[in-house]
């Protein structure tokens, strides 16, 4: 196990290096510097700023400096928010995205899983067709359409829930954004679970279980659940990371102080360090997601060995 962990960790490093390099190159290739504004700066000040952020050095040295800081866990100072560092921004915003993302994924797993299993237990029935049609629609309606509609209905017309904002993560503020983020995932999960459950139900061991006279639900839960979860797990890895991107829209519509919106704001402001920091964070999340997926595989299917 320890060897497996170590190997995974080591193999993640080149990937992160590629991401850092890619992001660095892209940002430095683009026109417009971080301190261009409609107020042209005096040469002296321009130089002072550039010296403070080491922008006056040759690009290769900036690159090495960035990597060195990175190795020490320092993502650098933010160029836009001049009183803070990228580490601080992420520390402040990430918990919000994780809370919303976690709730959304949890909701999607529970509801989507239930719908999918329910549909698979009676394929072709109304219990199958109706939720699956809804799921198809759920996949096709983007969250930037759902989110404003939720606000319109629940905050502005019914006044049940706040229209956004973030007050220490109270459940009332968490509900609408999580729901808006969760709907497409729920639909996906329902479809995956259904397809996979149907597949599994055709297997020999299920037929045996049925032959033993077990009821549908019992078969489903006791024998079909584990193998059914396999494809779901491989979907969840990337999904965990994509929650961060999905939250760009959610944050904008609900006015939440997460990190997603800094992707755009950071790029607009040529905030090199902020964009690179977030890109790396996102890459790291994907890697972690895939790692968790592998662990889950091993747990779900004893035939899979970790140190393969």
């Amino acid at each position: 196990m320890a060897r497996f962990l170590l190997r995974r960790l080591l193999s993640a490093l080149p990937t992160l290096l590629v991401i850092a390099t890619l992001a660095f190159a892209l940002l430095h290739l683009t026109p417009g510097g971080p301190f261009d504004s409609d107020r042209t700066l005096v040469a002296q000040i321009q130089r002072a700023i550039e010296a403070r952020y080491h922008l006056d050095e040759p690009v290769w040295r900036q690159y090495l400096r960035y990597l060195n800081d990175l190795a020490h866990g320092d993502l650098g100072p933010s160029f836009t928010y001049r009183d803070t560092s990228v580490n601080q921004i992420i520390a402040q915003g990430l918990p919000i995205d994780l809370a919303i993302g976690g709730c959304a994924i949890g909701f999607a797993l529970l509801v989507g899983g239930a719908i999918g299993l329910g549909a698979a237990s009676r394929p072709g029935s109304l219990r199958d067709r109706l939720p699956m049609t809804l799921a198809m629609i759920g996949i096709s309606v983007p969250s930037f359409v759902i989110a404003p509609l939720l606000i319109l209905i629940f905050a502005m017309r019914l006044h049940w829930l706040p229209s956004g904002d973030w007050v220490g993560g109270s459940w009332r503020h968490l509900l609408l954004p999580s729901l808006a983020l969760a709907l497409p995932y729920t639909a996906f999960i329902a479809r995956i679970v259904r397809a996979s459950a149907l597949d599994v139900m055709g297997n020999a061991h299920i037929r045996t279980a049925r032959a033993k006279g077990l009821g549908d639900t019992a078969v489903l839960l006791r024998h079909a659940l584990r193998p059914t979860l396999m494809p779901l797990v491989s979907y969840l890895g990337p999904a965990l990371a994509s929650v961060l991107t999905g939250s760009i829209v959610i944050e904008q519509v609900f006015g939440l102080p997460g990190v997603g919106r800094f992707f755009i704001g950071g790029a607009l402001n040529r905030d090199y360090t902020l964009v690179m920091g977030l890109t790396l964070l996102y890459g790291a999340l994907i890697i972690v997601g895939n790692f968790v997926v592998d662990l889950c595989y091993a747990w779900l299917d004893p035939r899979v060995r970790l140190n393969r």
Partner: protein, 289 residues
């Protein structure tokens, strides 16, 4: 050489079409999509209105039969029907072009890796693994912010990020095909590698590729819509469905039709394409009766 293969191919294709159209919902999806494409082509061409000319006396007219402005007008009095149809054109075009780009890259990458095998295979597929961890969606957003809003760039950018899945699948299929006899035969006859890949490998994996392409198109359309929603899409006065939805979202209380109409069209297109992709996969699936 390839004649017998081609004959064998043709019959399954007709069979495929029969299976595809057997279901009512699939026929409905095909019909809806066809109608939308037809409208997107014809309406801007036939309509007396154009997508860019303001009409001061018609600002924010709710949908009405009068004057044929059945979808109403926007903040500058422009006919929403024409604008939405232009939006459909853009969205469909983005979807198609980006999917073609991703299919071409994915197929060539995967086929090369699968066909050549060995070190090349390891290198190509290892790079795919690494690229899987690169956060492409944010990167495309960053790219779009940085390098202007040219439509072509949007196409290419989106296409360039969505080929990874296809590459993996194609490689698997290619490995299977390469073990067949006719490939050995062709190789024995001295057919060179690029020709082998293009003439013998690629045509035989087209089925699975088409399925994936069908599922890529709606994903790309949604992604373009997301970019447009964030203000990173096409240049005004042109609009895509995404930017129309974004405009509508800011008017959702005062003029809800501006949000609802483009949203419905966007959802319809994506829905039909998703359904067709599913249906194609089912039809290709040998397990199905």
């Amino acid at each position: 050489m390839s004649a017998p293969v081609a004959v064998a191919e043709r019959r399954p294709r007709r069979e495929l079409w029969r299976r595809l159209c057997a279901r009512r919902s699939t026929r409905a999806a095909l019909l809806t999509l066809g109608l939308i494409v037809l409208a997107a082509v014809l309406v801007p061409w036939l309509s007396p209105y154009d997508y860019s000319s303001p009409s001061w006396t018609h600002i924010f007219t709710a949908p009405t039969w009068a004057g044929g402005q059945v979808f109403g007008t926007d903040a500058l009095g422009r006919d929403l029907l024409v604008r939405v149809m232009w939006g459909c054109r853009i969205s469909l075009l983005v979807g198609l072009v980006a999917s073609v780009v991703s299919v071409v890259i994915g197929v060539l990458w995967g086929a090369t890796a699968g066909y050549l095998g060995g070190r090349t295979d390891a290198l190509l597929m290892r790079s795919v693994d690494v690229l899987y961890s690169v956060p492409f969606i944010p990167l495309v957003i960053v790219l779009n912010v940085l390098f202007g809003r040219h439509l072509v760039l949007v196409f290419i950018g989106i296409g360039a990020v969505s080929w990874l899945d296809i590459a993996r699948i194609v490689r698997g299929q290619t490995l299977a095909i390469c073990s067949r006899e006719y490939v050995d035969a062709a190789r024995a006859l001295g057919v060179r590698t690029p020709a082998m890949i293009c003439r013998h490998v690629v045509p035989n994996i087209m089925g699975i590729v088409i399925v994936y392409a069908t599922l890529t198109v709606p994903a790309v359309i949604l992604f373009e819509a997301l970019l447009s929603f964030l203000g990173l899409g096409v240049q005004a006065p042109l609009a895509s469905l995404g930017s129309l939805v974004a405009d509508g979202a800011s008017e959702m209380q005062s003029n809800p039709y501006l949000l609802i109409i483009p949203s419905i069209l966007l959802a319809l297109i994506v829905l039909c394409l998703n359904h067709l992709g599913d249906a194609l996969r089912d039809a290709l699936d040998p397990h199905e009766p």
